[in-house]
Amino acid sequence: MNSLDRILAIATNTVREAIRDRVLYTLLFFALALIGTGVLVSTLSYVESERILQDVGFAAIRVFAVAIAIFVGIGLVHREVDRRTIFTILSKPISRSEFLLGKYLGLLLTLWLQIAVMGIGFVAVSWLAGASIGSVHAAALGLVGAEVAVVVAIALLFSAFTSPMLASLFTAALWVIGHLSRDLRNLGAQSALESVKRATELLYRALPDLGAFDLTMHAARGIPIAVSDVALPVLYAAGYATLVLIAASWIFERRDFR
C-alpha cells in the first residue's frame, strides 16, 4: 500500500506539473487547430471528404500525442537531474523504480487527458462536417493511448542513460521503425534465405510493433473491427511497456547522481 501511495504521489505531482506548464497548452492548441483544418482539406476533394477529414484528424492526434510523449518523456528524468530536484526525492524512502514508475504513470495520465481533449475536438469537427462517428473511432483513439504508453516507456528507457538530444533521436527513430516493423517481417518472410527470415522475425519480436495500434483506416472508412483488434494490442502495449520499464529501472538503479 505504501509503495502504491508513493508511486501515486509522484504521478499526481507529474500531472500537476504538466497541467501548470503552458507549453503543453500551446501544443494542445496547435493539435486542435490542425484537427480543425481537416475541414478545409476535405473541401479540396469532391469524393470521400469525410474520410479525408477524419484521416487528417487522426494523424494530428497521433503525431501530437507521440511528439509530446517523446519530448516530455525525455525531459521527465533529465529535468529532475538537471534541476537537482532528484536529490531531495531520492533521499526519501522511495526506491528509484517507484520514482520512475510514478513519473511514467503521471505522464501517461497527462497524455491520455490530452488525447481525450483532442478526441472531443475531433468529434466536434466530425459532427459539424456531418461525418459519422462510432465505436470504431473510440477504439482507434484508445489505441493511440496504448501506443503512447509504449512510446513513453521507450523515452524513459533512453533518458535513463543518455542525453536528452540522443534520447529524443533514438525514441523518434524507434517510433518510425516501430511503424515499419511489420513490413520488415513481411519482407524477410519472402526471402529465400532461412537466416534472413529468422533475423527479420527476431528483429520484429524485439522492436515495437506500433502498426498494431493503427485503426485509422477502419475508423475513417467505417470498417467493422473485432474485440481482439483492440484487446490484443492493448495487452501487447502493457507487456512491452512493462519490459521496457523493467530495463529502464535496472539502468536507473545503477546510476550515480553527481
Partner: protein
Amino acid sequence: MSDRDTVVSVEGLVKDYRSGFGLRAKRVLSGVSFSVREGEIFGFVGPNGAGKTTTLKVLMGLIRADAGRATVLGHDVRETEYRRQIGFLPEAPYFYDYLSGREFLRFYARVCGVSRSDRTRRVDTLLEWVGLAQAAEARLRTYSKGMLQRIGIAQALVHDPKVVFLDEPMSGLDPIGRKEIRDLIVRLQSEGKTVFMNTHILSDVEMLCHRVAIIVQGEVRYEGDPHAVLGDDERGAEIVLNGVSPAFWESLETRFESGVRGVGDRIEVLLPHKLVDDVIGEAFLAGAHVVSVTPRRATLEDLFLTTVEQGARR
C-alpha cells in the same frame, strides 16, 4: 563512546569518477572514515573539491561507493526504507517551483508515508516552525533564497526524522538569512535530532558544531572538537614592544622572520608561546618597553589551514 551512540558510521569510503568511456578515473574519496554521535551537530568541513558533497551523496544513496562501508542508524545507506528516519537538504536546492509552500510539503509528506490524518497538522506545524505560515499559499518561484532554504529544511523534517543532513545550508545567504538558519539548526539539536552539516563557512561551524571532521583531497585529516586549540608547541602569542633598537629589531627578525612587523621603534612579534618569557627578558635588557603580551587563540581557521597545508604537503 559506545557503538550505540554512533548514528553515522563511515569506514574507508573510496569513490572514483570515471570519464572518457570510463577509461580515465579520478579518485575523489580515498578512504574516508568518521563517525557522528547521537544528538550532536557535526560539521563536515573542507576546501572546495575535497569530497564533502560526494561523501554526503554516498550517505544519501545518490552515489554508490566503490569500496568501504557507510551506515546510518545501523542501516546500510543503500537501503530505502530506513530513510524514513533521515532528512536531507541538498546544496543550493531547487524545488518544484510550480507548487505552493503548502503543496510542496504535503507532497513530500506523502512520499515519506506520513498518514493522511497527520499530514495537515505536520505541514502546518512546520510552516509555522520555519516562519513561512504567511507565505504557505505562494508558489515557490516567488520565494527568496532564504525562504527556499527554510522550506528546504521544512521538507527535510516533514516526516520527523532522527538525523538531518544539511549540505551547505548557509551558502549564498545574507547575514539575516544565515542567522535564521543557524537558529533553526540549534533548535533542531535542542529537540534531540542529530545534525550533520557540510560547510565551508568556518565561523558557523565554530558557533554551532560539537565536533568536526576536516576532509582534504578525499581523506579525513582531522576529527574532533572544533574548539580544541592546536598543541602547546604550536600555540602562539603576540608581543608589542616600544623603543626597540635597530640591533634588537634585527635580532628578532633573524629568529621570527615573517612574524615581525612594525613602524619606527614600535614592533609586533608573533612567536611560539614557549619563547615569550625569553623574548621579554631580552627586550628588558635591550632597553625596550613591553606594551602588551596577547596569547594568540588558535581558531578553527588555524586548525583548518594547518590541516589543509599538511594534506597538500603529503
